[in-house]
């Protein structure tokens, strides 16, 4: 296993070596600078030299190139500034759903209207104008709900509006899969809609957690939907799973179920506690055991050459190896507003789909200056954009990636988005050291965890 040690920074001549945290394995260590999220794996002899402040020129050069040291104030990685450039847009079509999931956090207000055709046209116009003004952006749109396929004609209309404008954003949905008939699958394929399906695993777990609103299990309808997608030519869709106490109890069956379903990409999202179903959310103390089981099972799939990738693990490995800053939630803390915005069915705009508290509205579809809208909200000290209180994070090696976690989760949990998202914090603290251990000990398995590729 991995041990953690602070390594002090120092200055020697024109060389400044920054303070780092070393995660030490049996024959090598991974050294990370928490402020920048950059790191370097090294053998123990090199770590020893670093501790003694006696590193040779070659190691000093590599550390400078990774932002772990600077030479004659060569570069300053800490002068990082986040631009406001929303590229990912959620469009909240409806809160209606044909399932009654036990952990659902959406408020099913009776007076919340389904989006109209006029509104989807107005949102399309707004986004088309925005994209034409900022053509270097890569726009992705996600109609969601409730169950988005209840509003399939609106999703198709959205695609048509962009096609007519000669613009081709990525459009994706996350669906419960139960409404995917052969006709629906063909329509989605024709409109180039990417699909993610919410499945919680085998019938024992899925049907318990995701029953039909009318009663009864939903898995057989989901499986029919998957079959229909495949008949329509879909092969690359992924699944999204909410991890609860039940999932942990049945983890190996759940993962075996996905392997047998021949799904290429799975995403196991840890359930966060909410007021409705406190008993279902795993206790953060269980995360370590859960991750050991998950990684152990993925190792067996790796040995069996089963091509499958778990996206939360893959993202965090990418963070450690390449620091790509590519994920709105997990690569460098929360980018709500900065990189994503959410439209509700009345055309009101929120920084994130999970932040649809009435006072979190920062503008409307009638205002085409989406960047200006966000910048104004930030400047005015809008609660959502207040800096995270990271006083509890100062000693954490993973703070660049986590930055206090999800703002909306903190708002739900304690009413203050600037507080720590305790689930994300505990999850990162449990997962990252395990991933460092894998990187140092078994690069083949680490590669597999990043891509799911098998020889």
């Amino acid at each position: 296993m991995i041990t953690e040690e602070r390594v002090s920074g120092y200055r020697k001549g024109k060389l400044t070596v920054f303070g780092t945290v070393a995660l030490i394995g049996e024959s090598s260590a991974y050294v990370i600078r928490p402020e920048t999220g950059t790191g370097l794996a090294m053998d123990l002899a090199s770590l020893s030299a670093l501790r003694k402040q006696e590193i040779q020129d070659d190691l000093a050069f590599t550390m400078v190139q990774r932002g772990l040291a600077s030479y004659d104030r060569s570069r300053d990685l800490s002068a990082w500034h986040e631009d406001v450039r929303p590229e990912f847009f959620l469009i909240d079509l409806t809160k209606t759903c044909n399932l009654s999931c036990r952990y659902c956090f959406r408020e099913f207000e009776k007076n919340y209207p389904v989006m109209t055709e006029e509104m989807i046209d107005e949102i399309s116009s707004c986004l088309i104008a925005y994209w034409r003004e900022h053509p270097y952006l890569k726009l992705s749109l996600q109609p969601w709900g409730g169950e988005p396929l209840i509003c399939l004609p609106l999703i198709r209309r959205l695609r048509r509006n962009f096609d007519r404008a000669g613009l081709f954003p990525k459009i994706m949905i996350e669906t419960n899969g139960t409404l995917i008939t052969e006709e629906t699958a063909a329509a989605l394929k024709e409109d180039r809609i990417d699909i993610g399906i919410s499945i919680d695993g085998n019938a024992v777990v899925h049907d318990l957690q995701r029953p039909l609103a009318a009663g009864g299990g939903s898995l057989r309808f989901v499986e029919q939907g998957v079959d229909n997608l495949r008949k329509a030519g879909y092969s690359g869709f992924g699944t999204i799973t909410v991890v609860t106490e039940n999932t942990i109890r049945h983890l190996s069956e759940v993962l075996e179920y996905f392997a047998n379903l021949h799904v290429r990409s799975i995403k196991l999202n840890m359930m966060r506690r909410n007021s409705r179903n406190l008993g279902l959310a795993p206790d953060p103390k269980e995360f370590g055991g859960y991750l050991d089981s998950l990684l152990g099972y993925l190792y067996r799939l790796y040995q069996r050459h089963v091509p499958i990738v778990e996206q939360n693990i893959a993202q965090r490995l990418l963070n450690l190896v390449h620091r790509p800053d590519n994920n709105i939630c997990n690569a460098h803390g929360c980018h709500g507003g900065y990189r994503m915005l959410s439209f509700d069915s009345l055309g009101k705009i929120f920084p994130c789909e999970l932040s649809d508290f009435p006072d979190y509205c920062i503008g409307s579809v009638k205002d085409h200056d989406l960047r200006g809208m966000v910048e104004k909200a930030i400047e005015s000290g809008h609660e959502y954009f207040r800096p995270k209180d990271q006083s509890e994070c100062k000693d954490c090696p993973w703070r660049y990636f986590c930055r206090g976690g999800c703002r909306s989760a903190a708002k739900f949990a304690c009413g203050d988005p600037s507080r720590l998202d305790t689930t994300e914090c505990a999850f990162n603290k449990a997962l990252y050291p395990r991933l460092v251990a894998i990187l140092l000990q078994d690069r083949g398995f680490a590669e597999y965890l990043q891509s799911g590729d098998v020889e």
Partner: protein, 93 residues
């Protein structure tokens, strides 16, 4: 791409893990993500792949200079300038 630094690697240059590489028919383009620097190098797709593979495996600077000269029209001095630019941008380590 993930490597464990040791003294044995001393004297070799490697592609930074923070480099985002794009290879097209006529251009190798590299964005260094942590220093936000972008460099381009005119070469064929095949030569671009060869160059990147060599850098991933690690290459001595004199061999890299020969490689650069071999796949571009650069003379020795220009090749050295290319190398210095890549180091300054943090693309090589």
């Amino acid at each position: 791409m993930f490597r464990i630094y040791s003294k044995d690697q001393s004297g070799k240059l490697y592609l930074s893990p923070y480099a985002d590489v794009h290879i097209s028919e006529e251009l190798l383009s590299v964005r260094q993500m942590i220093f936000n620097q972008t460099l381009t190098f005119p070469c064929s797709r095949e030569d671009g792949k060869k160059l990147v593979r060599s850098l991933q495996d690690g290459i001595r600077d004199e061999d890299l200079l020969k490689l650069i000269s071999g796949i571009s029209t650069a003379d020795d001095l220009e090749s050295e300038e290319v190398l210095r630019d890549w180091i300054r941008a943090g693309v090589l380590e």
